[in-house]
Symmetry: C2
Subunit: 166 residues, 2 copies
DNA sequence: ATAAGGGTTCCCATCATGGGAAGGTCAAGA
DNA sequence: TCTTGACCTTCCCATGATGGGAACCCTTAT
């Protein structure tokens, strides 16, 4: 490879379909900051460099970055993506290995969804009694001050009895 | 206050219904670490101290910590809780001011829920074709490599055309 | 030659939380 | 009284994914 020739290095590499980090960022939707970060944490291999130290990305790199972005859009963590990338590039992988990663993540997502929905329910319940006016009486604060979040959830055992303040 | 008497300081303060940080943590469900943290970021006022420097919490403090924990359980951020605490202790607050904080948070929660559900949908869609066996063919990876996340969502404009790798 | 618009590294911040070290304090038992 | 273990204190560091910004270098067009 003649990446280090004395004239027009970038032009040479562009003819080889390589791109700067800014271009890679623009086409993949992964910010340049994050591309460097992914390299630092070894999610991707260190990019080739021009003589001046500029990172270069070829179509295979670009494709990998898109893969990463899509997995991130689905909420996969970096560690999960590391696993998926390994499987992606392993021609002998078993379908069920990939499925396992995806399934685990799906479970996590469903748990997260349930958690948020229970927050929403509790908050809506709290908002029901709210007069939404200029009066100081407020069932939302009352709820937070006394109960509210435990619509039937975990009860922290109270070892001491305290007098109420509000 | 005789907190600094030479004998049995903690016993004296316990008679005044004060508790150590560990007890406060146990009864409120807020960890001691977090109680100190909340003090440092000025969410709560600096606690009184014994002569030896131990923090002391009276029932009003305990009640406030419970308020904070309940709000956290509902997903309120520290800044939102700062606002709610201010309103809670402001006798002249307007109901609608509290409502505004809660409403904004509810909107954020609903957005978060929608986001997670779209992830779940996309992932389920991807999992549909999976054979879950020992064969290397895998529609999940194929989906991540080509499309998948854009069930009809945002399309990043592609300025360059790259040949496919996979 | 100079300016604009890249690129590079390095450090810091977020948000809420916890881990752990080093050292001081309290209560109970020998 | 001395020891022991459980508690407290402060301080520093780490998380995960991301962005901001400084200080400086490279390329290209005017």
């Amino acid at each position: 490879m003649d990446l280090h020739s004395h004239d027009g290095k970038l032009i040479n590499v562009r003819m080889r379909h390589s791109h700067t980090i800014g271009e890679a960022a623009a086409t993949t939707g992964v910010s340049a900051k994050m591309i460097r970060h992914y390299e630092k944490i070894r999610l991707i291999m260190p990019a080739e460099r021009t003589g001046a130290g500029y990172r270069l990305y070829d179509p295979a790199d670009i494709h990998k970055l898109r893969f990463i972005r899509r997995a991130r859009n689905l909420g996969f963590s970096i560690d999960e993506i590391k696993e998926l990338l390994g499987l992606w590039q392993d021609e002998t992988r078993a379908s069920k290995d990939v499925r396992h990663v995806a399934d685990s993540h799906l479970v996590a997502l469903r748990n997260k969804a349930a958690e948020i929905h229970s927050m929403i329910d509790a908050l809506e319940h709290l908002l029901e009694g709210c007069t939404n006016d200029d009066r100081p009486d407020c069932p939302i604060l009352k709820g937070l001050a006394s109960d509210a979040t435990s619509t039937r959830s975990k009860n922290v055992g109270h070892k001491f009895g305290y007098e109420r303040i509000c």
